[in-house]
Symmetry: C2
Subunit: 313 residues, 2 copies
């Protein structure tokens, strides 16, 4: 079985760009035409909203899949819509995989051992139903929270090894108050550096042919000093870099995350791409109705931007 990092590199090479699009379908930003149709059909309820989300995702996937190898689904926006929303989460994963895309479940779960095991089986593996192995959510990788330490992480590492899947552990997040704890000095290093060291050791036994591990890290684009330091502490980790566009991260801030071949990082953008039509400049150019062209333009612009610093594409 191919390791996750090798599959990731393969799909990035094929698409010629180390970018991911976040399918984070915040209901209030969905195109009016899609919402209206579904609300008219089912009424204003969770089912209608979940169907609207699924339809939107399908159309976004059709637009972006020639240009992008990876999608990231923020599960919060599906979970918020109840069981129907979780159904749209599952179905979106399936639609993306059918189009040859690699899917990251942005779940940021973290818990004690036996609970982590339940999450790991469900998201990366199979669930044992009285001896019958039922396919779980079926994503290629998940994001995780490190606060519980090693026994919250190892069940996912085990599942990743067994099923050729991957993890991205949150080391340094994009939000301003990531400094509250992640930047705290603990002895000679910051907490995020301590986490980075553990990410590196957890990933040691699960390295692909590419030299990269299936245990990656979520690392915000930010201070070049910290970024270079984290890169050195985790030489084998793929970085998932969120927040390009809407959260203010700039391509230049990510240059040192990439290796000489343009690998080692996947830059992710959500709102700035899928809700590009909400951006005044796209709105002027295309009008509200042409939201699909705004998305395509936004993803192409992102490709160009990131290629300048990754050296690929």
């Amino acid at each position: 079985m191919k390791s996750f990092s090798d599959r990731l590199i393969e799909v990035l090479r094929e698409k010629g760009s180390p970018i991911a699009v976040g399918l984070d379908p915040q209901l209030r930003f969905l195109p009016r035409e899609i919402k209206a149709k579904n609300f008219k059909r089912y009424g204003k309820d969770f089912r209608a909203a979940s169907r609207a989300v699924l339809e939107f995702n399908r159309r976004v996937l059709d637009i972006i899949s020639p240009h992008v190898g990876v999608v990231k689904l923020q599960i919060a926006f599906y979970e918020a819509l109840g069981p129907h929303g979780m159904e749209s989460y599952q179905k979106t994963i399936r639609l993306a995989r059918e189009r040859g895309l690699l899917v990251i479940g942005d779940i940021k779960r973290g818990d004690v051992g036996h609970t982590a095991e339940a999450y790991a089986q469900a998201h990366l593996g199979e669930v044992d139903i009285d001896g019958f192995a039922a396919q779980g959510y079926g994503v290629d990788a998940v994001t995780l929270n490190p606060y519980f330490g090693e026994d919250g992480i190892l069940p996912f590492v085990k599942m990743a090894r067994f099923h050729g899947r991957g993890l991205f552990i949150v080391v340094k997040s994009t939000n301003p108050s990531s400094r509250d704890f992640q930047d705290r000095r603990c002895g000679t290093e910051r907490l995020c550096e301590l986490v980075a060291r553990r990410v590196n050791s957890w990933g040691r036994g699960i390295v692909g042919k590419s030299g990269y591990s299936a245990v990656g890290a979520v690392v915000a684009a930010g201070s070049p000093t910290l970024g270079k330091r984290l890169r050195r502490l985790m030489p084998r980790a793929f970085f998932l870099v969120p927040g390009y566009g809407a959260q203010g991260a700039k391509a230049e801030d990510m240059r040192h995350y990439f290796d000489a071949d343009g690998y080692g990082a996947v830059v992710s953008s959500s709102r700035a791409v899928i809700f590009a039509y909400e951006n005044p400049s796209w709105k002027r150019r295309y009008g509200v109705k042409d939201w699909e062209r705004a998305i395509e333009d936004a993803v192409l612009k992102m490709r160009r931007d990131i290629s300048r610093v990754s050296g690929s594409g």
Copy 2:
């Protein structure tokens, strides 16, 4: 509107014991009779498993609700069963609330601001569906992970204030590797002590008549020195103390979490109560078929144990 902490104290007083039962329905431990019936009816799939979980929960709730004021649902075991599992999560919440129980969603979510907001609305409040406010999961409180810092927490505080709900932020967890990061010294204090200080300040503006805040903390029973220190750092926080029974926590270790009136902490047990019939000593006494009596005995035993240290009951 009554504050969460006042509602909590009211229900604990009424039931005469500061305990919570964890409805963490691991499929493999469910009574065979319940599984067999549902698998026969639907086949071995997520729907059957989810119905079995719901039926089990209903019967457990009927047994425990005269003796217990609070239940805690570990969402992982519902999420693992897909959309059907999430439906059983919702329905179990409803069944518990109908029986006058206070429900804690053990979700341990944590994310950046706008994502945290989506989680907060879904679990503690209402979800905006195009102007229609749809009721979310409807728990009375949730558990949260602090790694993202303040802007991952404030959306929940806001929602808690608005809807009279509560939070329990993980300060110190029960698992052995909680020492990996939570016990790391950051300057003069451990990371978990830094988190405790923030829990205290986040809870300042949302204190009930009882003097306790709606912002509580998950604190493992363990070293008395650390326990007393955390109690001092968070004088207004209700402690949710997991792991009694199966995870090895002993009543004696929690004595200093309670105030003179026997309030200030809720001790939670999951497997040791709901799967008491798996324990060899109960099995000998009742046999497998009498699993309901084993549960009742286990919950009564827990009440007695905890009353000795809380002083209540």
